[in-house]
């Protein structure tokens, strides 16, 4: 099975990388960009249930205090 976990900062928590990317895009002339937010994706291959993947998030991949995570099952290409 292939799971996709996506982790992003909760709204209101500073996303410094998003801010510098915005800065970089502006410097290259893309000055109509209003905002950039970043997220990280882990694609996890393994025979696990959604609950178990959720546990991976809680125990290693994400911090529920500052981050939101979403889990999606993706079809194996």
């Amino acid at each position: 099975m292939l799971w996709e976990v996506r982790i992003a900062y909760k709204p209101g928590v500073q996303d410094a990388e998003g801010e510098s990317t915005l800065r970089g895009l502006h410097a290259l002339g893309f000055d109509k960009v209003e905002e950039v937010k970043t997220a990280k994706v882990f694609v996890i291959k393994g025979d696990y249930t959604r609950e178990e993947v959720e546990e991976m998030c809680r125990r290693l991949l994400a911090n529920p205090v500052s981050q939101d995570y979403t889990i999606a099952e993706v079809s194996v290409e």
Binding site: K10, G12, Q14, A16, S20, R59, N63
Partner: protein, 772 residues
């Protein structure tokens, strides 16, 4: 706010609901004040008072009145820590206790600033961000004395990494999670800002599962003639740095309360990630403003945000301030005025600037891509007028604000009535030594240390890892901050929470001894200290009793060692659903060395040299790692014998200055056995030691080998220099106990009995394996 009519229950409820962390007495005091004024307080005013009077900001406990076992302690701070400094009255103490960091003389107009902070609660919830902003915060303390931050230290305490998941209460993160993200957070901030992390320690104990401890320290260079700390009426309050957001609201009051199951949900606003690059830019701007002499005062925005920064600056400058909150650049639209006023968003500083320099200062920050916004103006009247647009949202008299009610607390101390265990005398101590080397508190921290940049700036001349393979555990870091001078700064620390479980007095005494001897071991002297208490809820008499004992030891030992405290911090209320934190005191030491080329590393240098032990070994295995290995605590905790120790210390410095010391390592966790092993494998030089001549109390060989008695060193002396060395050391307790050897083995004997015989490679492997 409806306060004037409020009954006691209402006051208590209000304090709790608004997360003010104010006691009933304090709420009453506020009510009384506003009754006199004949009006209700605004929410901004109430929040301001809560911040200003919080444990975090004013150290109520340390400055309060304590009934301790029948004795009345009138301000623990004044009667212990600060008293040492006052009585020693050292001319080289340039600024102590009163500012963001302590400052001592260094070289000519240059001073060194040093500050260590804790960031425990934020690190429990958001370990990466909590640790990172801990580093960011203490760096701002240095910027807040116009210092150029040049080095960081970090001391971290976690629960055991193998703690069973099932035992974790809801809302508590696993020690391993906390450990890896805290370490990453510390590294990321220091590395990104280009400040080397040169010294630290990592400890593990069950008592840190619910409440990890994260100490972050920063050393900076100050130009004394540019140390401006007084704003005048008419000067502009300039807010510099990142934007103000809803993050970090109530951080201070959060730090002044216990952690509980819901902390995860309720304190989300206290969580921040930090932006080291922003702080790097701010730093550049500040140093330029300093060097051009454009400002009159500076402070960081830490706990309490603008409210504390402006309030404290006005108070210190004997003036007041008119503030316009609508001018503050915001991250989130529609923030309430009180939120703007107390937000603890990271990477912000307050700079006070005379009108005529304002344009230049704003330009300097613009060049660094940093916003600098005039938000207020200082006035002669000692009051704060806080406006939002036309509306006066707060009017506070500084006299009331800073006349913090003194609390009175009860403290008790009872001897825990521990017993010495009876261990069977081992035939062979080799396996024990190998196990000790692998214990998490002793084991190599190399895998962590290397993720921290300790080279950046090219000033670290004695590094955390030393020896033939650059992997031995150094005692202290030596910095050479100036290109045109050999004068150096020596940074070390001392911490041993295990001893506190027996008696906090001896924990504190031993921590001072350890910090000092680590510093001396590399050649440091003229040592200044920082104290950092991490304790449980001081409203509980038993917690406070231990704290009082620890503080008393600070006075006794530091006074005798002539090492003044220059700054410090206490973090109380470290309790969680798992109970109180292991009471912990960290002592950080800042020494100088006149010529860094004299500094001594801990690795043995070559075969054929003499090895001496300095100091006497006592039968003091209480709290030792040897006992811990077998699950015991014991009772005979190491003492500090100040006059014996002082003798040894002074003589060691003389010997180092004469160039007689080839290698030196202090004896700490694991005692003589561990220190000998570390010196040998770090130098890749064999070592043979006989316990027979070592100065010691009557005791078994295994006890002598692993006792952790204070004030001891192992020293390597060049073959032909024994006589010179012994002459310099005259009057000290010492003995020649062994020699370095070609054969790459550690051999320790007592009489005809071989206690330890091990290959250096096996010792090294045992030490490195645990945390690799």
């Amino acid at each position: 706010m409806k306060l004037l009519q409020a009954k006691d229950e209402d006051l208590i409820r209000l304090s709790r609901e608004r997360m003010l962390s104010l006691s009933l007495e304090e709420m009453r005091r506020i009510k009384e004040h506003y009754t006199k004024l004949g009006r209700e307080p605004t929410d901004l005013e109430l929040e301001t008072l809560a911040q200003t009077w919080s444990e975090h900001c004013v150290h109520k406990t340390f400055r309060g009145i304590i009934d301790y076992n029948g004795e009345v302690v009138d301000s623990l701070f004044a009667s212990t820590v600060a008293r040492v400094t006052r009585e020693l009255n050292k001319a080289w103490c340039f600024s102590v206790f009163k500012d963001n960091a302590g400052i001592v003389d260094f070289d000519g107009d240059l001073g060194v600033a040093f500050k260590v902070e804790t960031h425990n609660h934020p690190s429990a919830l958001e370990p990466f961000g909590g640790a990172a902003t801990g580093v960011g915060g203490v760096i701002r303390d240095i910027l807040g004395v116009w210092g150029d931050p040049i080095a960081n230290t970090d001391v971290l305490c976690f629960g055991p990494l193998d703690y069973p998941y099932e035992k974790l209460p809801r809302g508590t993160k696993h020690p391993r999670f906390i450990y890896s993200y805290v370490v990453a957070g510390i590294g990321s901030y220091g590395n990104n800002m280009g400040i080397p992390t040169v010294n630290g320690a990592i400890l593990f104990d069950e008592g840190y599962v619910g409440n990890p401890v994260v100490y972050c320290g920063t050393v900076g260079l100050v130009r004394k003639s540019r140390y401006k700390t007084r704003a005048l009426p008419g000067h502009v309050a300039l807010l510099v740095g990142g934007r103000t957001g809803r993050d970090g609201i109530h951080g201070v009051t959060f730090a002044s309360a216990e952690l509980h199951e819901e902390s995860e949900e309720t304190s989300g606003s206290a969580v921040q990630i930090g932006d080291p690059i922003m702080e790097e830019k701010i730093k550049r701007g500040i140093l330029k403003v300093r060097d051009e002499g454009l400002a009159s005062a500076i402070t960081d925005l830490g706990g309490g945000g603008l409210s504390s920064a402006i309030g404290e600056t006005a108070e210190k400058s004997d003036c007041g301030c008119v503030v316009h909150l609508e001018r503050v650049p915001l991250k989130h639209p529609r923030m309430e005025p009180w939120e703007i006023w107390t937000s603890e968003s990271q990477e912000r500083m307050l700079i006070c600037v005379p009108q005529e320099n304002l344009e230049r200062v704003v330009d300097i920050f613009r060049d660094e891509e940093v916003e600098a916004t005039p938000v207020g103006e200082f006035i002669p009247e000692k009051k704060l007028y806080v406006y939002y647009g036309e509306e006066l949202v707060g009017e506070l008299s500084l006299d009331f604000m800073f006349r913090v009610p003194r609390i009175r607390r009860k403290a008790t101390w009872r001897d825990p009535n521990l017993r010495e265990p009876r261990l069977k005398e081992p035939e062979d101590c080799t396996p024990i030594l190998l196990s000790l080397l692998g214990m998490p508190n002793i084991a190599s921290k190399e895998s962590i240390i290397r993720t921290y940049d300790h080279e950046v700036k090219a000033i670290t001349v004695l590094k955390p890892l030393q020896g033939a393979f650059c992997d031995g555990p150094g005692d202290a870091a030596v910095l050479k901050p100036l290109y045109d001078s050999w004068r150096g700064i020596v940074i070390s620390n001392g911490i041993n929470p295990e001893y506190g479980k027996i008696d906090p007095y001896h924990m504190a005494a031993s921590a001072i001894d350890e910090a000092v001897r680590n510093n001396l071991a590399v050649g440091g002297r003229r040592i200044a200290l920082l104290d950092n208490f991490v304790w449980g809820n001081p409203e509980k008499p038993d917690r406070l009793g231990g704290l009082v004992r620890a503080a008393k030891a600070c006075y006794n030992v530091a006074k005798a060692y002539e090492t003044p405290f220059i700054s410090g911090k206490d973090s109380l209320y470290n309790e969680s659903t798992l109970g109180q934190v292991t009471s912990t005191i960290l002592i950080s030491a800042l020494g100088i060395i006149p010529d860094v080329r004299m500094s001594v590393s801990m690795d043995l240098k070559k075969p054929g040299n003499h090895v001496y032990i300095l100091g006497r070994t006592y039968n003091e295995l209480g709290g030792s790692h040897y006992y811990k290995l077998y699950g015991h605590l014991g009772r005979n905790v190491p003492r500090v014998r100040v006059s014996e120790a002082k003798n040894t210390f002074d003589a060691l410095t003389r010997a180092i200055d004469k160039g007689l010391v080839k290698a030196c390592h202090d004896l700490a966790e694991g005692g003589l056995g561990v220190a000998a092993a570390e010196m040998a494998f770090a130098g890749d030089v064999g070592l043979r030691i006989s316990l027979d001549d070592a100065p010691k109390e009557e005791m078994r060989g295994d006890a002598a080998l692993f006792s952790e008695s204070n004030s001891r060193f192992l020293v390597e002396v060049e073959k032909g220099m024994a006589e010179d060395f012994e002459k310099v050391m005259e009057g000290c307790i010492l003995a020649r106990v062994g020699a370095t050897t070609k054969e790459k083995k550690l051999v320790i004997t007592e009489g005809s009995k071989v206690m330890v015989r091990a290959e250096l490679s096996d010792l090294r492997e045992a030490w490195q394996r645990t945390l690799r």
